[in-house]
């Protein structure tokens, strides 16, 4: 009941913010024209073009990516048993970026053929490269997570994130000099860079990842009690870990590949979901965290693309302003975190 009410409220808020952000930009559109363009009913050609070709892909990317990060956050916080775990904070996004940068650089040095191959198969190839980077980072952090405490892991994750982002920009610099067409501007998170044709490449792995997340939800809930209790409840812990890792990679890699390192969304959304659901069981958290993540991502994007005098905001700036204080509050006040201090 609580879950359904919360989900309905989140969907309403998400629809409202999405619609609002479709109406404004460099050209303000009346709500009626925006709706008309969406519905395929009467509207102006200009409105149709702006809404459907420019703004809708951006908003759709924000919803899909935000939802994926929210679900991945739920999975990671349960898998690592760490309330501040998420794909960004533990360096998985940076790992994915590094994977992409390595691939692009390798192609640039391999020659024009490799570069044009990458360009033609841009969607699958950079998603795969990102997936490899995300997976390596995730496996490493999981191994490390068994040795160090939650907060230490967070700090290490952030540091590794900085390191691989630094390496990524160095690599991309060399790749650019070697003649590769390089994903400029992608080092910052943004939902605006995605081409409408790439949306299916963003969506497909995330849908599979979400299905995998739902399928692992029940055994993952018992892992909250610890490995031995989970085993005593009939869970095959090793295969569960692998399945959850795979789901996380599927959810996160396309986001890195097409939207860059979107910060804070995956970390915060699970906490909102838990507060709304009143439980830590995984299954009810997944839809709420997906909706909450999508809402946060769209709201951040809406602020970035508000009709400012000039375009000066970056998505991660907004997400940091919205998100970092929440994380600080979680660290200070959450009863779930208190034991780690």
């Amino acid at each position: 009941m609580r879950v359904r009410t919360s989900a309905a409220a989140l969907i309403a808020a998400l629809a409202a913010v999405s619609l609002l952000t479709l109406t404004y930009g460099q050209i303000a559109l009346p709500l009626a024209d925006t709706l008309g363009a969406l519905m395929g009913t009467q509207s102006t050609d200009l409105a149709r073009q702006i809404v459907l070709e420019i703004r809708l892909p951006r908003v759709a990317a924000a919803i899909i990516a935000g939802g994926a990060l929210g679900m991945a956050g739920v999975l990671m916080q349960a898998l690592f048993r760490n309330p501040v775990a998420d794909a960004w904070s533990l360096g998985l996004l940076a790992g994915g970026q590094f994977g992409v940068a390595l691939t692009v650089t390798a192609a640039a040095f391999a020659g024009p053929a490799a570069v044009s191959f990458l360009t033609i198969f841009e969607g699958p190839s950079i998603t795969l490269a990102a997936a490899a980077g995300v997976a390596v980072a995730a496996v490493f952090m999981l191994a490390l997570g068994r040795r160090v405490g939650a907060i230490t892991l967070l700090v290490i994750g952030l540091m590794l994130g900085f390191t691989s982002q630094g390496l990524t920009s160095v690599l991309l610099h060399f790749a650019a000099r070697a003649g590769g067409r390089v994903y400029g501007g992608w080092q910052d998170a943004s939902f605006a860079a995605i081409a409408p044709a790439s949306l299916p490449w963003l969506l497909a792995p995330i849908v599979i990842g979400a299905a995998a997340a739902v399928a692992t939800a029940k055994p993952l809930s018992s892992l909250l009690l610890g490995e031995t209790y989970a085993r005593s409840l009939g869970v095959r812990v090793t295969s569960l870990r692998h399945a959850v890792l795979a789901a996380t990679v599927l959810l996160v890699a396309p986001v890195v590949a097409f939207c860059g390192p979107v910060s804070f969304v995956g970390l915060i959304a699970p906490h909102f979901a838990r507060a709304l659901a009143g439980t830590a069981r995984i299954l009810p958290l997944l839809p709420l965290a997906a909706l909450g993540g999508a809402l946060l991502a769209v709201a951040g994007d809406a602020i970035v693309h508000a009709p400012w005098e000039q375009h000066f905001l970056h998505l991660n700036n907004i997400l940091a302003i919205l998100g970092a204080p929440v994380v600080i509050l979680i660290l200070i006040f959450s009863p779930a975190v208190r034991q780690w201090r």
């Binding site: 916080q77 048993r81 760490n82 309330p83 399928a215 939800a217 029940k218 055994p219 809930s221 018992s222 909250l224 009690l225 610890g226 031995t228 209790y229 085993r231 005593s232 409840l233 009939g234 869970v235 095959r236 838990r274 009143g278 439980t279 830590a280 069981r281 299954l283 009863p335 779930a336 975190v337 208190r338 034991q339």
Partner: protein
């Protein structure tokens, strides 16, 4: 119902089993206390019987089935454990912890049915934990936490319950209450309960039978009376400073000579 057939337990790497050749049986309704000093292998034995650790030889059979070769899901319906390992669970509320016990019985969603709810309500009532169902598990005191974890094991409605030092953080009246309650629970539900404890007096008074580990690889089983009289309890626990008196059924601080 529970039969150990020349069971050997321990760690492969540690050079030989801690205990071997254990032959003992328990009937439905038996309340069994496992006694022994620290390091005598109580936890290892219990984990092996629970199927959480491979045996080094022999088998533990529950209702004729080898525990080690049961499917994990089947085993989870038959055996509940409570371990000294501290459950460490961010964001879980007490009601979630108890409800997780029903996972082996629910579908892929983990949705609770009427039977599940009834089992949970039963366990909650037996352990008297209604007042803190909505609290975070991590915010409980050690004693409260132990009551919740016992309720969780009860809610799993197993045939065999394996409880490792579950009363360590409870005061004496609570220990007596919980041990007596578990004993009558075993009788009422026809379960076997294996419980390890450092509470010798209480165990010797309440157990149907006692499994005694002497710390040197020796295992003996019998009624509390028989083990006290045969001197087995004394052999397992006597030191220079304390001595078990079979006639009194309790320990005496060594006054004669040794002190």
């Amino acid at each position: 119902m529970l039969d150990l057939k020349s069971l050997a337990v321990g760690y492969r790497s540690a050079g030989g089993p801690l205990l071997s050749g254990i032959e003992v049986s328990a009937e439905a309704g038996d309340f069994i206390c496992i006694l022994g000093r620290n390091g005598s292998g109580k936890s290892t034995l219990m984990r092996t019987i629970a199927g959480l650790q491979p045996s080094l030889g022999g088998a533990a059979r529950l209702g004729g089935e080898d525990v080690a070769s049961m499917r994990p899901a089947t085993r989870a319906r038959r055996i509940a454990v409570m371990l000294t390992e501290r459950a460490f669970n961010p964001g879980l509320r007490v009601e979630d912890v108890v409800a997780l016990a029903r996972q082996p019985f629910t579908g892929w969603e983990g949705r609770l049915g009427d039977a599940d709810r009834a089992a949970i309500a039963d366990a909650v009532a037996v352990m008297g934990i209604e007042p803190f169902l909505r609290r975070y598990f991590n915010s409980l005191s050690d004693g409260e936490r132990q009551r919740v974890m016992i309720a969780r094991a009860l809610a799993q409605t197993p045939r065999l319950m394996i409880l490792d030092e579950i009363t360590a953080f409870l005061d004496l009246p609570s220990r007596v209450e919980i041990m007596a309650l578990l004993r009558s629970h075993a009788k009422a539900k026809g379960q076997v309960i294996l419980l390890s404890s450092h509470d010798l007096d209480l165990s010797l008074q309440l157990a149907d039978s006692v499994w005694l580990l002497d710390g040197a690889g020796g295992f003996s089983a019998g009624t509390p009376d028989a083990l006290s009289r045969s001197g087995a309890v004394g052999r397992a626990f006597d030191t220079g400073a304390i001595r078990f008196s079979p006639s009194e059924g309790r320990f005496e601080i060594g006054t004669s000579g040794s002190a």
